[in-house]
Symmetry: C2
Subunit: 441 residues, 2 copies
């Protein structure tokens, strides 16, 4: 993409309405614009990142055998009356009356809807387990939306649901999602630590939040250092083998890891040696939860058991805040100059800077590099604007592409270009051929 054609409205000044760094950087980098309080329009570069994150989430759901569906945003209030949540939900639910005066709502989540779909079609234990997910926009009418896409009102979420015969089978599904989430966040370049979370009136230990560490995080977190150092990238597990899956979960639940909500200081001190105690701040990016027959009972989702009896299915739900992740990743990965994208979700891999757009040799070289990278399928954003080098460097650092390839007249005379890693700041003068081959072209 050529910058002269791209719709990338970057800003030099820090917008006053943004309180946290990810919000500031997303506005400055031209990724989003606020449409109304807590509701954002995604501009081309922001949407590109959002879609890449969505795709990683999707691939990992598919890999574990979860099937993608799409439920609508607008739901019938009657469905929520069956579960008792229509009255219980409070003012965060966006309630709507349609032209025929029927009560509707903009879904904040989908337990009722997926349970209704399941109960109409599945009647035997033979069809179980069933794991289904969708990636859909939700609405929660926050009283004071803030922090940009981290706590907006309209937000994109992946929510998955499991249906199983009994608690034991439900726990197996739960553990698959646990492992799937470790893989997903690792692929997104994040270190996400599973932490015990509240299970509510159901009890048990099948509720975990996945938390990434960031100084600006909303919660205080306390955990064993081994979890901070553990690396789930490259984790390979056969999802068809419940024992292999359980082994991973057992390790990641063997040490202390809790947010302030569940923190127990004396337990922390007795379980974790002093030099292994980590106290930091964190951001929730995922939540998995077993809730038994809470929805299957009121919605009548029962199945025939192997013994020929009728039994309510055991369910769990599994969420990842997809649009929130864009902000969370920036919170975890930036410096004073801007965003530092992990390569897996960077909007473009390479930023090509033409230092002197008016110079014929420079422009010719850049055009050729641009064509070669495109041909090789390497995503490249080409700054072909007639701007000062300083402004180009600043914009490129701001938007945070992993690699910058700088082409200037002096370098060209020597036959070299500059290759800069955004993450490390390291710059190297290399031949054009070597730069291209290192970038995969």
């Amino acid at each position: 993409m050529r910058l002269t054609r791209y719709f990338l409205p970057t800003m030099k000044d820090t917008p006053s309405e943004a309180q946290i760094v990810s919000h500031r950087l997303m506005l400055r980098a031209g990724m989003v614009r606020q449409a109304s309080a807590g509701i954002y329009s995604w501009l081309p570069m922001g949407y590109k990142v959002l879609r890449k994150i969505e795709q990683v989430v999707r691939e990992e759901q598919d890999r574990m055998g979860c099937q993608e569906v799409l439920m609508p945003t607008i739901q019938s209030a009657d469905l929520w009356r069956k579960s008792g949540r229509y009255d219980a939900y409070g003012p965060e639910m966006l309630r709507i009356r349609d032209r025929h005066d029927r009560d509707m709502l903009y879904g904040p989540t989908n337990e009722e809807q997926i349970t209704e779909i399941f109960q109409a079609e599945v009647h035997s234990y033979r069809a179980l387990p069933k794991l289904m997910y969708h990636i859909q926009w939700k609405f929660r009418d926050e009283v004071r939306p803030r922090f940009g896409v981290m706590r907006g009102r309209e937000f994109l979420m992946k929510d998955a649901y499991s249906f199983d015969l009994d608690y034991e089978k439900a726990a197996e599904s739960y553990r698959k999602f646990f492992v799937c989430y470790l893989r997903t966040f690792a692929r997104l370049g994040l270190k996400a630590i599973p932490m015990e979370a509240d299970t509510g009136p159901i009890g048990g230990n099948l509720s975990h939040e996945f938390i990434i560490l960031a100084d600006t995080g909303e919660s205080a977190v306390f955990c064993h250092r081994d979890f901070v150092e553990a690396d789930a990238s490259g984790l390979k597990v056969d999802y068809e083998d419940p024992q292999a899956v359980k082994k991973v979960v057992d390790y990641y639940t063997s040490l202390y890891a809790r947010t302030d909500e569940k923190h127990d200081a004396s337990l922390f001190e007795s379980e974790v040696p002093e030099d292994k105690r980590v106290e930091r701040r964190g951001i929730e990016v995922g939540h998995i939860f077993y809730f038994g027959t809470k929805y299957s009972e009121p919605l009548g989702a029962s199945i025939a058991t192997p013994e020929g009896e009728e039994s309510f299915v055991h369910m769990g739900s599994y969420g990842i805040g997809v649009s929130r992740l864009v902000g969370a990743i920036i919170e975890a990965s930036h410096d004073e100059n801007g965003i530092i994208w992990p390569e897996s979700i960077a909007p473009y891999k390479v930023g090509l800077i033409n230092l002197r757009a008016g110079d014929e040799a420079c422009t010719k070289a850049c055009d050729e590099i641009y064509a070669k990278l495109n041909e090789a399928g390497v995503e490249v954003l080409y700054d072909d604007r007639d701007e000062r080098p300083g402004a180009k460097f600043a914009d490129m650092d701001l938007i945070g592409l992993p690699w910058q390839l700088v082409v200037g007249p002096r370098g060209l005379e020597k036959g070299v270009v500059e290759l800069k890693s955004r993450a490390t700041g390291e710059k190297e003068e290399v031949s054009l051929e070597s730069a291209l081959s290192r970038l995969g072209a």
Copy 2:
């Protein structure tokens, strides 16, 4: 995908609520379920098709240089008050009041929103043209929703917007979309004919509906036979060359083609020789429209011209009904046994039928074929259920995958399998190797 694991609730009986064939088939093939009046949940196979159509639409928008954004579903009423459409829109607009008593609405379209984004960021003719699209769910509160996804309340639409300096430049953008739509529908296996449409108070001739022929279509259409026979598949045009683009548009606007709304019987008879007159029914799947400064004026979207003056941008909008296309394609492509998917958007390319799931040799052969097709990246749905052959054939015809590969014990003894084309019904006994190679494995 193995059918024993898939969530594909097919139905033998015709659902009574469905009046048209695409609605009946989508329900029977387990593609969608109604959530509430005119609002659908997309089950795995239906959603797979929807996403494939969406991806073709996206690729063709990208190819013409249109940039993808995503605007939210919930919009502020104030924005629509500026254009005057908040009061004008009528009861089809889903109006919402949030917890702070602010008037909001579920967007039925996005002219106001995109114009607001544009006017805040673009101030010079140098940045023009700007072409932007998004693929987002819309809501129109139809008084009597019907025909399944063909006329639902919550529906997925691609809407694009062009911003240009003046009428001449806007017409160039308009013509790019015209060609882009020809390519898009051809890739979807559709014959879509551009027909003159109403331009409203603006006048001129820059408004076309793209209509596919189907006996169940909502409108009567009248056109020159050459357009019915014209084939836009493989159409290659350099979008950077306005003359090449114009040439295509000139051809497709040179002959008579109108829906009943614009039909002029005497003109039809005088312009079209009798043997070339085609009268059929059609379904609208796209609409492109130039509307000048209708929104840029009230929303203050002006730019500096080359002469240093301020001028309101000239705009157009360009819609494709993405979820509607799923139904429209079925209307255009089915028989008495079920759906016949064009290969480009079929949920799976191959349906693999194990005629005797209890037979060891059959199952072994099928498992191997399944593995080979998957390895080669050929999408395959494997009917591994323990069901009668008749039920398997009926389901496979119903869901309409392009190829059926039938493996039975008698064939295996002779070393052959049966390959059936869903579109032609032709069956061939071929060796396993030859079947695999013809399917691309």
